[in-house]
Structures are given as structure tokens and as C-alpha cells.
Amino acid sequence: MITVSQDQQLDRRRMALKQISSNKCFGGLQKVFEHVSVELNCKMKFAVYLPPKAETGKCPALYWLSGLICTEQNFVSKSGYHQAASEHGFFVIAPDASPRGCNVKGEDESWDFGAGAGFYVDATEDPWKTNYRMYSYVTEELPQLINANFPVDPQRTSIFGHGALICALKNPGKYKSVSAFAPICNPVFCSWGKKAFSGYLGKDQSKWKAYNATHLVKSYPDSQLDILIDQGKDDRFLLDEQLLPDNFIAACTERKIPVAFRLQEGCDHSYYFISTFITDHIRHHAKYLNA
């Protein structure tokens, strides 16, 4: 990383933000910005919701990590989170799910690997390692950018969504709370995970553990982390054993990590399911962010 003074760094990042859109929503503003990511070596878009309370003071930041095939747009347009975020006074930051347009060979070949499927890992294998560093992007670069440009309270940060469990479990204390919708809980045992991890991380499966929620739980220090997971009972990926929540629950039960896992009758893997329970999740985070 280039050594520059913090101020210069902040200036550079502030300058780098380019507003793509801005829409009034529940008293706040739903915006999309574009910037050049240092970690990802490409232009990245992210969505950010500015709550009405941000006009008068610093607000907590809640990061949403989208699942496979998503861009920053899916969550902001489909989940209906705005009202709850407005009421609780949260910034909600939704980055894209992967780098885009990096001209990596094979990045657009399949929907579950490459573009749109970054899996929030830092790739170590060629040709992915130059751009596919989503883990560092969402846990380091993006928060710094947000903290520098918006009135957020860095001490009050939470995360939810697809990669949220890994980010939270790998960074004890960094996030006040975590929640997820139908997460891939044990990627080393599912076909998605095997494909992605072998591509990004190589054949050595011991390296995969670093991005395996079920494994990370086992080494998670005994600090408080209240995990809320909603899972549709009719989710075809659950039935295909891509998600494997039972493994995660068993690990948490063994390690006494508190999880409330709610298997929702009749729900699938869609944003209809997410929008049904998004308010519960935002309240779950509010309990810790606004405590």
C-alpha cells in the first residue's frame, strides 16, 4: 500500500467518489456512487442510504453483502429496507458482489463464479488475485471510504447478508451484530463453495477454512455475538444442500455461540423472502447499534 498521510488518503478517497444517482426515500436519500477501488483495481459502485438522522448527527453504519449474481441494485430496489433504516437511523451500505470488467479470463463464464460471485474472499490464485479481493474491500477499503465521506459512527458498525457471517467471525469485535438470510454456512461441503474456493484459493483445502463460517465458529473467541439467521424452508438451495445451516447450528451449539435460526415456512431464496423479514433483521441490529 502506498504510504501517504491519512489526510491525503482521505482527500484522495473523497475526491474519488462520483455520485451516480440520488433518490429521496423515507426522509433520507438513497444514493449510488462510483469510485476506483485500490483493492480491486477497478471501478466499483456501491449504494448508500443516508438516513434523515444523519443531518443532525453521526449514525451507525450497516453493511449489506449481497449474494450470488447480485449487483448493488438488487438489495436497494427489492428488499424494502428503507423504512426501517430510516426509523432506526442507519446508514445502509450495499456494495457490488464482485469486481466488474476486469477482463479476467473466465470471469463471465458462469453465474456462480467470477463476476457476480466474489464470495467475499481475498483470492490468492492467478488470475484472480489481482482483482478478486472482496474480503479486504468490504472489511477495510469500503468502510474507510464511508467513514471519510459520511457522518457515520465507526464504533457502531454491523453487517448482514451473504458474506456477513465470515466477516463477523473473522473480525471479533469489529461488528456489533450480524445476521444473514439463507447463508452458505459450510462452503467446503457444497458444490458452490468447492468451485469458488478452488478457483480463488487453490486446491489446498486448509486455506478454505479461513472462509468457512462453520469452521470459523469453532475458533471464535468467547465474545458475545448474537446471530440471527432466517432461512426459507422451501429454498431450493437448502434442499440442494448448498447452504448447510445445520452444520453451522451444530457448531454454534457446541461452541455456545448464540444463534436464533428461524426456518420460515413456505419461503424460498428470493428477495420476497428477504423483504418479509428485513425489518426483523434491522431491528436485530438496532438492538446493538442503538443500545
Binding site: Q224, D226, L228, K233, I249, C252, T253, K256, I257, P258, V259, A260, F261, R262, L263, Q264, E265, R283, H284, A286, K287, N290, A291
Partner: protein, 750 residues
């Protein structure tokens, strides 16, 4: 024109030296009430005449104008003349400022704003006229105005000349005394202060002096008024006393008169009786003596006759003599045999007669005493005059009566055993009231009273029923239920007979009892009350019972904390296999080999499900409580309507909402049951303490893992009635309830 000029001359004459005082003299002098109070109306009348005349003729007519002018000028002239010889300048000087000062703006301001000054001048004049205060100054100002107006009408342009004369008035007043020398107690002109004898004196603005003087006068007037009222009252009082004295003495006179008449009558009667008795006795004796005298005379006659007969016989012949002598001897013998009573049957002196005057004496005495009093009037019981063991009985006497003592008798009123006479009690007192003690609480007593004096007792008064205050109620401390906003308090009456109502008194415990404000809820007809309270406080609560006689003393206090919700388990609902601890907060199902005989079905008691219900206060707010559980225990906690079927499991119907935990083959299962259905929820850390939040406002029931602040599940439930906490134990073990605790922050998000 001649007249006009003459008039001007006259005016000049009136104020030869000081021009400024000219019109003062002209218009004002007449009105000084102290000099010519009777002249004021006259002058007014004339002015009014002038005005009306002016109006009728109209300003346009030259002839009429001149006529009027003459009239008015005459008037003015007249006053000018009158002034001239009646009043001097000094007099004006002294009096005028007092009239003007309070009403007029300060000197400096007038100087700067003559137009305003003019306005003020008019205003004050008109106002004074309207008010008709009777002060010479005010009246004169108004009249001045009138006259000026008259001039304006009559003179047209010429009136301006008069304006010239009029305007200086203000200046004149300004130069008049405008401050008050406190030392000399006199008003002076401001410039005098500088070089006169007032140089060293304290001066204050005249208006101030005037105000203080007015204040002083008002104060004195007030005092006088008060004194007048007092004296009038006193006079009225004296009058009353006067009448009373007259009445009383009149009564006394009548009293004496009737008594003396009575005594005299009695004496006369006695005299008559005596005289009659004496006469009879005399007659009797005389008659007796007369009888004796008569018989004595008869005897004497007989003796004489016998003597004569014997003497005649002695002169008779022997034969005859003998014959006669024998007969004579017989006759003599007979005669001599008859007793000659020479004892006096009646004594001339009469026996010692003692006169009995005792009744007279009594009558004499009774002049100084009074007749026996009439029956006193016993008052009905005054409200709040009784205590639990005493009543205060009052009565009154007729004002004419003199009473030495009263006898108050009473006995308890009891309908139940009329045959058995209740003991009667009697006390003797001097006063017209008596506090009767050692009575039974909340009991009716019948009272009657007699008045006594030397003449004897009065008849008995009517009987009045008094009632003692009730005994204090007894708060059922174990049944107190509370929440943040209210308390439901129950008590036992403490009285066998019904009472009228109850009063609940509450004091905030934080404030010391002496200064603590006591709130009261009055008129409670039943033995329970739901009282609204402030959250987060401690209260000390007392209950009193009330009846006609008054309130009981306070019950023993009960302390209530409005922190969280507080309830106890309802033993009436408790399944027979469950035991409830002494404090009503722990449920125990013991390990014993229970006789698996199901108890008979019941509406209140759980018979199948081994459960018990709590008594939550019926308030539609937030209620939060916690249950300590063993993580291997099978338990169900939640809420249910009071009429939940007692034969069914909790959560097996639409009248209950519960969280059930079952532990089987080392797996924990958590169900959130309502109407036999549960969502599929997995919880990785078994709670050791479950928090339950019942929120009527949002129709929600939430469960939490207290130690982790973890939200477990929230029911949305339609709570059309009040629900109560319920608990059941499917296996031996125990549940410990914690309540009366404030809601943790994290639960407020649900």
C-alpha cells in the same frame, strides 16, 4: 367692537402684572368649591345657554353672530369682574398647580410638543367634565373649553385672538409649583429650589408627593371605614344585647309575679282554711257549752221544783204528807240518782295549733330555683365525629331551662335478639356533649338524654342512633399486584357489619412521611382498588374504612414499587402435583413417584397440564417478567386467558401463547406454541433465564434469552381480554419467577 375692546381692557385689568394668570382668574376662580360651591352649576348653565344659542343661529349669520358674541362677552366680562375683586393672584398661584400637576405631562415634554400639550389640555378638560369629579380645577378646565368653543363659533377669525390668551395657560401652569418640598411640606416651583429658602431642603416631584399624600389619605380613609364598620357592628351588638336583657328581665319578672301570686294564693287559701277550722271549732265548743248550760238549767229547775214540792208537802196533812212523802222520796231518790254533770265539757283556751308552712316554704324556694327542665334535643350524629371506640354525642337544651346535669343513656342497637335486653349504660355530665368511649367499632348505639336540676329531671329526649367508626381494614399484602403504571390492592374489611366505603391513601416512600403528600382515592365500594401510579416509584399505601360515623384509623401499611410488573402465582389454578413456595414465586414439581391419578376436571384448576397461572394486574400496558429454568428441564412458559381450558396443554388452543422447551436425547427443542402450531426455530444456546415481554399496546408477546439479550421469538396475538402468565413443568424440577424488575433496554426493540 366697543364692548369687545372694553372687555379686553377688563381682562387686562384683572391681571395687571402677570399676563399668564389672566384667564386662570377669569375661568377658574369661580369654581373653587371651597369658596363657592353653589356657584358652579349656575355658571355651567349659562355657558350651556350660550352654546345652544350659538347652535340655533348658525355660524354663517353675521347678525346673529354678533348678538351671540355680545352675550358671551357679557358672560366673560361678568366672570372677569367677579374674579377681579374676589381673588388675588397669590391665591391662584397656590391652588392651581395642585389641580393640574397629576394630569399634565412633564414640563420638558410640553415644551417640545405644544400640539400634544394642547390635546392633553383638551382631553383632561373633557375627561374631567365627563367624570364630574367636583374638583374646582377639573370643572373649570371643562368650562374653559366650553367658553373657548363658544368664542370660536362667535368670533370666527377673531377667536384666534382668544386662543392667544388661552394657550399661555399651559405655560402658566408649567411655571406653577411643580415640586414638593418635603421639609416645608409645601409645593414649590422648581426654580425656587435653586435659590430660595428650600435650597437645602429635600424635594420630590409634586406628582410623587401627591401620590403619597393620596395614599396616606386612602389609608386613613380605609382605617376610618373599618372603624365605622366595627362601630356599627358593635352598636348592632349592643342593640341585640339590649333586647335580650329586656326579654330576660321581662321573663324573670313574669316568673316572679307568677310565683308570688302562687304563694299569696296559697297563703290566702291556708288562711281561709285555718279561719274556717277555727270557726267550726268555736261553734262546736260553744254549742257544747250551751248544751251543758241548758241541761244545767233544767236540772236547776227540777231541783227548785222538787224543793217547792217538798215545801208544799211539809204544809200538807200528815196522811197526805206521808203519802206524798213516799212518792216524793222515790222521786228524789230517782232525781239524785241521775248524775249532775258539773264538769265543763269545753275548755275556754284552745289547744296549741301548729301552722304547717312547709308547702309555702317550698313555693318560696321555688322562686329562687326554676321549674324542671324540658326534654333536651339530641342532635343527629355529626359526620366524621366518631372513632372506632368512641362517639361524640351532642344535644341542646331550651334556652329558658336551667340544667345542673344531664344523664346520657345508651345501648347498642341490635335487631338480632330483641328479646334479650342489651345492657344500658348511663353517664352523668355537665356539658351538652359527651365523648362516649369503650364502644365496639362499626356498631350502632341508641342514645337518649335527660336534663336535671333541683326541680327534678326532664322528660327523656328522642332517641338518636350513633355509629362508631369501623375497624381498620387489613391489606392482603400477598395479593398486591402492580406494574409500572398502577397497583391493584385488595383488603379484608376488618368489620363484621358492612361499611359505607373505603379510602386508599398513598404516600411516596422517598419523601419523608411528615412532608410527603398523601393522595387519597375515596368512595371505594368494594374491597379492592386499582390505583394509577407513577412509574419507578415506591409508595406506602394505607386503607381506611368509612361509615356515617367517620373513617377508621389507617390499616397497616403496604409498600408497593412501580418497577416492572409484580404478580404472584394463583394457588387456585395450581395443578395438584405442583407445589408453590412461600413467596408465591417458585414452582416445584417433586421427584416422588406420583400416583398417576388425574384429578377431576375443573374450570379453575389445571388438571391435565401440570401448570399454574399467575395473577397479573389487569392493566393494558407493558409487562415483563423472567423465569429461571434448568436447561435440561421440560417446561412451558407463556400467557393464557383466565378461561383457558384447564384440561388442555398450554399452547394447544387459541387461548394461550407459550414457549415450550423439551430436552430429549441431548437435544434441545424450542417450540413457540399457539393453537398447536409452532414456527421452526433453532436456538443454539439454551437459555437459563427466559425474559417474557407482554405488550398489550402492540399486541405482542416476546421471549428472550436474558443472559445473552437474545431475542428468541415474538408472537403477534390479539389480546381482547386480559391474559395471565402461565407456567408448566412436564418433568420434575422447578421454575423460579423473577418479577418486579425493570424491563431491560434490549427488549424495548421488540
Amino acid at each position: 367692537m366697543e364692548e369687545e375692546s372694553g372687555e379686553e381692557l377688563g381682562l387686562d385689568r384683572s391681571t395687571p402684572k402677570d399676563f399668564h394668570f389672566y384667564h386662570m382668574d377669569l375661568y377658574d376662580s369661580e369654581d373653587r368649591p371651597q369658596l363657592f360651591p353653589e356657584e358652579n352649576p349656575r355658571m355651567r348653565k349659562e355657558v350651556v345657554q350660550a352654546e345652544t344659542a350659538n347652535e340655533s343661529t348658525g355660524a354663517g349669520d353675521g347678525k346673529a353672530q354678533s348678538d351671540l358674541r355680545e352675550e358671551v362677552e357679557e358672560l366673560v366680562h361678568l366672570y372677569g369682574l367677579e374674579d377681579d375683586h374676589e381673588l388675588g393672584d397669590e391665591f391662584v398661584d397656590e391652588n392651581m398647580p395642585k389641580m393640574g400637576v397629576s394630569e399634565y405631562p412633564p414640563y420638558g415634554m410640553k415644551r417640545r410638543d405644544p400640539a400634544r400639550e394642547q390635546r392633553d389640555w383638551r382631553l383632561s378638560g373633557e375627561a374631567a367634565e365627563a367624570e364630574d369629579l367636583g374638583f374646582g380645577g377639573w370643572g373649570s378646565a371643562g368650562q374653559c373649553q366650553d367658553l373657548r368653543e363658544v368664542y370660536r363659533y362667535t368670533h370666527g377669525r377673531a377667536s384666534e385672538e382668544y386662543e392667544c390668551y388661552v394657550i399661555p395657560e399651559e405655560e402658566d401652569e408649567e411655571e406653577a409649583a411643580d415640586v414638593f418640598c418635603v421639609t416645608c411640606k409645601t409645593p414649590i416651583r422648581a426654580f425656587q429650589k435653586v435659590f430660595d429658602e428650600h435650597k437645602e431642603h429635600e424635594v420630590i416631584p409634586l406628582s410623587e408627593a401627591l401620590e403619597s399624600a393620596k395614599d396616606e389619605i386612602h389609608k386613613n380613609m380605609y382605617k376610618l371605614e373599618k372603624q365605622i364598620i366595627d362601630m356599627e357592628n358593635f352598636a348592632n351588638h349592643l342593640e341585640e344585647v339590649f333586647i335580650t336583657v329586656e326579654e330576660n328581665f321581662g321573663k324573670q319578672e313574669q316568673n316572679f309575679e307568677s310565683h308570688y301570686n302562687e304563694i299569696l294564693e296559697t297563703l290566702a287559701q291556708k288562711y281561709e282554711e285555718k279561719i274556717q277550722a277555727l270557726g267550726e271549732k268555736k261553734k262546736e265548743r260553744l254549742e257544747a257549752l250551751y248544751g251543758q248550760l241548758v241541761s244545767c238549767g233544767e236540772n236547776l229547775d227540777t231541783c227548785k221544783e222538787l224543793m217547792e214540792t217538798i215545801e208544799e208537802m211539809c204544809h200538807e196533812e200528815k196522811v197526805d204528807f206521808i203519802k206524798d212523802a213516799v212518792a216524793m222520796a222515790d222521786r228524789l231518790g230517782k232525781f239524785l240518782k241521775t248524775k249532775t254533770d258539773v264538769e265543763i265539757s269545753a275548755q275556754p283556751d284552745f289547744e296549741d295549733q301548729t301552722l304547717d308552712f312547709s308547702d309555702v316554704e317550698q313555693l318560696m324556694d321555688s322562686i329562687n330555683t326554676i321549674p324542671a327542665p324540658s326534654a333536651p334535643v339530641i342532635n343527629p350524629q355529626a359526620p366524621n365525629s366518631a372513632t372506632g371506640s368512641s362517639v361524640r354525642v351532642c344535644w341542646s337544651l331550651y334556652s329558658d331551662d336551667t340544667v345542673e346535669s344531664y344523664q346520657l343513656s345508651y345501648r347498642p342497637v341490635q335487631d338480632s335478639s330483641p328479646g334479650k335486653d342489651q345492657a344500658e349504660f348511663t353517664v352523668t355530665i355537665k356539658e351538652t356533649y359527651c365523648s362516649v368511649t369503650d364502644l365496639v367499632p362499626n356498631t350502632q348505639y341508641e342514645f337518649w338524654v335527660t336534663a336535671h336540676n333541683r326541680a327534678g329531671p326532664s322528660p327523656s329526649s328522642e332517641r338518636a342512633v350513633y355509629v362508631t367508626a369501623p375497624s381498620p381494614p387489613i391489606i392482603k399484602t400477598k395479593e398486591i399486584r402492580s406494574c409500572e403504571e398502577a397497583v391493584l390492592i385488595c383488603w379484608e374489611s376488618g368489620n363484621l357489619n358492612p361499611v359505607d366505603s373505603y379510602t386508599v391513601e398513598l404516600t411516596q416512600a422517598e419523601s419523608p412521611e411528615a412532608s410527603g403528600v398523601t393522595e387519597s382515592v375515596v368512595g371505594i365500594p368494594t374491597c379492592e382498588s386499582l390505583v394509577q401510579l407513577q412509574p419507578g416509584q415506591s409508595y406506602i399505601i394505607y386503607v381506611r374504612a368509612l361509615n356515617m360515623g367517620g373513617p377508621s384509623v389507617r390499616s397497616e401499611p403496604a409498600t408497593v414499587h412501580t418497577i416492572g410488573s409484580y404478580f404472584r402465582l394463583n394457588k387456585d389454578t395450581c395443578h395438584p402435583w405442583l407445589a408453590i413456595s412461600q413467596d408465591g414465586l417458585t414452582i416445584i414439581r417433586s421427584e416422588r413417584s406420583t400416583p398417576r391419578r388425574e384429578p377431576p376436571p375443573s374450570d379453575t384448576r389445571f388438571t391435565r397440564c401440570v401448570a399454574v397461572m399467575g395473577n397479573l394486574i389487569p392493566v393494558r400496558g407493558h409487562h415483563y417478567w423472567e423465569v429461571e429454568v434448568n436447561e435440561h428441564l421440560d417446561y412451558t412458559v407463556g400467557v393464557a386467558f383466565e378461561d383457558v381450558p384447564k384440561q388442555e396443554d398450554l399452547g394447544a388452543n387459541c387461548l394461550s401463547w407459550c414457549m415450550r422447551h423439551t430436552f430429549a436425547s441431548s437435544r434441545h427443542k424450542y417450540e413457540f406454541l399457539h393453537n398447536r402450531t409452532t414456527p421452526d426455530i433453532r436456538i443454539t444456546v439454551p437459555p437459563k433465564k427466559i425474559g417474557i415481554l407482554l405488550d398489550y399496546e402492540n399486541s405482542k408477546l416476546s421471549f428472550f434469552n436474558v443472559d445473552l439479550s437474545q431475542h428468541l421469538y415474538t408472537f403477534s396475538c390479539q389480546l381482547h381480554k386480559f391474559v395471565h402468565p402461565c407456567f408448566s413443568l412436564e418433568k420434575p424440577g422447578c421454575l423460579k419467577i423473577h418479577n418486579g424488575i425493570s424491563m431491560p433496554k434490549h427488549v424495548t426493540f421488540y
